[in-house]
């Protein structure tokens, strides 16, 4: 099992994601350079936060053209796990791997603060270590996190239960006040239909150590680790069966 953190020019949470995966979660983790065409056999790709290419045009709009994105897309289409955090979420939207777009926050200001998000479904690769209805306290830090999609797309998202996390208050109510950036349906985290790609505006890597104020973000990393180990054991079993049949 190996994690890969993609480094775009202008990424600034790349080292943070790397640190948590390697030092806190104790996982084999590598940096993936955006100009390469090699995913180095990783089993999960993390697109980190930051301002890729300065984000002067539109957040994530240039990063989608980075050479490595060809491999990331192919990896995702084959069912590989992809986690996009903050700018990484924005890149996933620009890549067309997730539906919708990000608008400026409703108050037209950058927002850096703790928020509460609610786990909507604990049967996914990203939440299996948590519980449905669980409330996580995780910080956000973004200017463009106001999720938007046309009504038909939103309806599809809700039908397919793709909204994996919603902004809520401390008691778990997805209220307007708790929806700090103005996202439609309080969406903080969104999956694709196949449930192997997650875009997340809050930063779980900033909430993985008690010293820094919260460990709630570990639920997401732990879920991925568990999912990957069970996949591996499934694959190992399958390989074992094949071996016996031969």
């Amino acid at each position: 099992m190996r994690f890969g953190v993609v480094q775009f020019p202008g990424s600034n949470c790349d080292f943070d994601a790397f640190y948590v995966l390697k030092q806190v979660m104790k996982q084999d983790t590598v940096m993936l350079w955006h100009k390469d065409h090699d995913l180095q056999n990783v089993s999960c790709v993390v697109l980190p936060g930051g301002f890729s290419y300065g984000d002067y045009l539109r957040a994530g709009a240039i990063a989608r053209f980075s050479p490595l994105m060809r491999e990331v897309k192919a990896f995702a289409r084959k069912g590989g796990l992809v986690l996009g955090i903050c700018n990484g979420f924005q890149v996933l939207l620009e890549l067309g791997l997730l539906p919708g777009a990000m608008l400026r926050n409703k108050n037209l200001k950058f927002l850096c603060q703790y928020v509460h998000i609610r786990v909507e479904n604990d049967k996914t690769a990203f939440t299996r270590a948590g519980k449905a209805g669980q409330i996580l306290r995780i910080p956000i830090a973004h200017f463009d996190g106001n999720y938007y999609a046309p009504p038909r797309v939103i309806a599809g998202i809700e039908n397919n239960r793709q909204a994996l996390f919603r902004y809520c208050d401390a008691d778990g109510n997805a209220t307007g006040e708790a929806n700090v950036n103005g996202s439609l349906h309080n969406i903080a985290g969104l999956m694709n239909k196949e449930e192997n790609i997650l875009g997340l505006m809050p930063h779980p890597e900033r909430a993985s150590e008690a010293l820094l104020g919260s460990e709630d973000g570990r639920v997401i990393f732990e879920s991925i680790v568990r999912s990957l180990s069970s996949r591996r054991s499934v694959r190992a079993k399958a390989a074992g069966k094949r071996a016996r049949h031969d």
């Binding site: 020019p9 600034n12 950058f110 830090a141 930063h203 010293l211």
Partner: protein, 740 residues
Amino acid sequence: MIDKKVLDEHNLTEEEYRRIVELIEKEPNRTELGIFSVMWSEHCGYKSSRVHIRKLPTEGRNVVQGPGENAGVLDIGDGQVLVFKIESHNHPSYIEPYQGAATGVGGILRDIFTMGARPIAVLDSLRFGPLKSPENRAIMDGVVSGIAGYGNSIGVPTVGGEIYFNECYSANPLVNVFCLGLARKDKIFLARAEGIGNPVLYVGAKTGRDGIHGATMASAEFGKETEHKRPNVQVGDPFKEKLLVEACLEVMDRGLILGIQDMGAAGLTCSTTEMAAKGGLGIEIDLDLVPQREAGMTPYEILLSESQERMLLVCTKENVRKIQEVFAKWDLDAPIIGRVTEGGQVRVLFKGEVVVDIPVEAVVNLCPAYRRPSQPPSRLPSAVRMPLLPVPADIEDVFFRLLASPTIADKEWVFRQFDHMVQTNTVFFPGADAAVLRIKGSKKAVAMTLDGNPFYAALDPSTGAKIAVAEACRNLACVGARPIGVTNCLNFGSPEKPEIMWQLEQVIDGLAEACRAFEIPVTGGNVSFYNDTEGVSIYPTAVLGIVGIIDDVRKAVSPGFKAEGDVILLAGENREELGGTEYVRVIHRVETGAPPRIDLEREKRVQEFCLKAIDAGLARSAHDLSEGGLAVALAECAFHSRGPVGCAVELDDPIRPDALAFGETQSRILLSARPADLDRLTGLARAAGIKLSAIGKTGGADIVLRHRGRDLVRVPVEDAYRRWKDSIPRFFRARSKGEA
């Protein structure tokens, strides 16, 4: 022909011109004159302050690099060093708030990574005029957005700072930006040219016409017409700087370069001449090789441009290719534009001709130093007695008004626009007494604070300066950190006014005395003069940036109450001191009288007690008493608790109730502790020789402050919190509805 008019345009005196001619043994051409004009400006040459700042103590056990380089360097053990500095960007931020503040951040970041350190924290000290004015709100909004726009993008957390409001800053906002970086002690780089014949490389953004004479602009008073100076303000590109940080740190880490200097004020001129001067060598550059953003630039413009995000490197010939490969990886060019030469001349070629040929020593080190006339004001503000103030009947109402006073009110509206968590080191967020960052891979943490109450200094500059040092150290003590070094940003009006020079002398005397008392070296800083608009000067504003170390980050303490039923303790003594307080200024509209007294020995004992209490794990919270005094400090401890946790406190000091509640007597710290630990704390206080009083308990939903059997304040925490929380956002909400 260089006449009086040309000299005026270059802000040089005839006397200075004569000195130039003498030093370079010829009449300078226009380009050479331009070089002297920026390098001998107040901003670059420190000509009015140099003789005074020499009085500051600069030596200490931990000092690896004192003043004179891009930033100071302190040893923190384990082969690691802290690199830090503060700088002002006041004038540009008034003319163009967003870009002025943004490039202020960009500039100080370059000072830090130029030394080989990765920037890990930014703090800002800001001063604005009252928020009831739409102009002041626009300036504040622009400055805050600018700091956010640059710092957030580049990924360096803005972890703290301070903001004061006063009329004197209306047309003179102050933007002082502090940055701290972390480096390996054996990987520190200096701005020094080495090795005759070695190539000089230019990296980063292309050179344009922006910012020409920025340094000269910052060295003169503003009149009514500042609009035309807007083009003097540079435009920042944080993305480019992010690439520069990564590429520079990579070539440094691989040991590929010999010397490096950023192009800040005075751009290419300053970086080339300073590198040559520090190496005791000469330098030659060819302007045709300098990447340019626009065609037709003259040598004068290329040399004096202050385009941002540019650096100059010196390396051996063998390493040029490897360096260029690293920069290419980050999509940056690194062309050779010149070489290090023998003989100490700076020579500049343009289209095959020598356009500049002058000795670097004259440019860099022989700028005249003035001991300008100084004279105390005819009537010292502190000598003007305060009028007899009536004790307000309703202390609670005063309490609410002070909580809503912007200087005291919650600054979250500002801080949540800053990414204060990126790099995942931030242990305490803005709002704590000091910012605390863990150092990955060790148990240690670094704590930082900026302090500079301008109201005390306005009444008595020397006392104000001493209090600024004392308060900064006290803030560090409150989180459990021992101070190890200081940087300062001294903001004043025009040095051509004798009373301003008197203020400077007084401030420096105060700083020197206090830094010696705390045994903390000053490793660098910045002096910003000419903070006058239309003849009105700002208050003398000395901002202290003090850095401290916590040996075990798990012991760090925050200001909020931790639990109900804890005992509340006050270290220090309550005196009847109202001069210079937020209370008399906001409630009684009085700005005279003497500021609070400061006894540095007593202060040290109080801080030593606090540090020992925290180290022994006895203090569950600690918070210093500053603007708004005891009542406001109690409220802040309640606001910062998770809960919220109220408090009930009773005192019987024989002083006026308003002085008890809101007086700003120095050397006081509010702590909370488990009742079982009270005896041990009392023992520590006795050993330290300070007064420690158990004044109440935490708990309940109210903030209660009683004096001699009478309620001064009894209000729900929630009500007080709202007043404090909503004050600043309200000003900006009103504006967005167009109600200004």
